[in-house]
């Protein structure tokens, strides 16, 4: 059951990821990006990361994508015009991309540990209890620093996006 689930969700993730880059209109890219986030959440579930799958859906597919769609609507950005590149130059990119992907995959599979099988249910300590325990003991300082970082980001976004009053 693991193999078809992995293949389906990996294929959805890669197809939606390519669609994000290929599409001309930003709103289509945003919807494709939601597909990437959703399928990655399913892959995290297969890897035993229950909490991180929930965070992926809530924070990425929920909050960040709403922010993106809101800004696209606000700016009323239309479809991007064609770039001035000629057809041979564009088509040349595809074999180079496949070549680079093949090369990197070869390096990865040559150096990665071979014997390890990813079985659904083999790793179960990815729930909220274990992660919360780590966050509030070992990673307490980074956790608090992250909250300060987000506070700074909120203040910065408000200052940057506000209308100048003169």
């Amino acid at each position: 059951m693991d193999v078809p689930l992995f293949l389906i969700f990996a294929a959805i993730a890669v197809a939606c990821g390519v669609n994000v880059v290929v599409q001309r209109h930003p709103i289509t890219s945003a919807i494709s990006l939601i597909g990437v986030m959703g399928s990655l959440a399913a892959l995290y579930l297969l890897l035993g990361g229950e909490f991180i799958a929930a965070v992926q859906v809530v924070v990425y597919a929920g909050a960040i994508m709403v922010l993106f769609v809101f800004v696209i609507m606000l700016l009323n950005a239309g479809a991007e015009g064609r770039s001035g590149r000629s057809w041979p130059v564009r088509l040349l990119g595809i074999p180079f991309l496949v070549l680079l992907l093949g090369l990197l995959s070869f390096v990865v599979q040559a150096y990665a540990p071979k014997t390890d099988r990813v079985v659904f249910g083999a790793f179960t300590s990815g729930g909220p209890r274990d992660i919360g325990k780590l966050l509030f003991t070992e990673y307490l300082l980074p956790f608090e620093l992250t909250s300060v970082l987000i506070l700074i980001a909120i203040a910065g976004a408000v200052v940057l996006a506000r209308k100048e009053i003169d």
């Binding site: 890669v14 930003p26 990665a112 780590l134």
Partner: protein, 102 residues
């Protein structure tokens, strides 16, 4: 059937990383460039969670949560800058922003 290994997840991560890099390099719309950056950060997260599974250790997933939090902060500030830019220059295309060009 051939079992799923860590290598499969790493190859998926490499594929998403390449697609995101190409998006950053070739697209001109700043919103889509930001979405491509999100793709790259997600590729990193796959690796973190996959190795967390491999070593049977939750630390990798905690790091992935930090990555998500920092990505959220980064997106917020970047979209704020984009709104300020659009208010001043009336464009969202990266190649039309040449204020610092000599």
């Amino acid at each position: 059937m051939h079992p799923v290994t860590n290598v499969h997840y790493m190859v998926l991560s490499v594929a998403l990383l390449l697609v995101g890099t190409i998006g950053v390099l070739t697209r001109r719309n700043i919103v889509i460039i930001l979405m491509s950056i999100e793709l790259i950060l997600n590729a990193v997260n796959i690796n973190l969670v996959a190795f967390s599974h491999h070593f049977g250790d939750v630390h990798g997933q905690v790091f992935a949560i930090f990555v998500i939090a920092v990505a959220a902060a980064e997106t917020t500030v970047a979209l704020g800058i984009l709104i300020a830019l659009f208010r001043n220059k009336e464009t969202v295309l990266a190649d039309e922003v040449d204020l610092l060009k000599w």
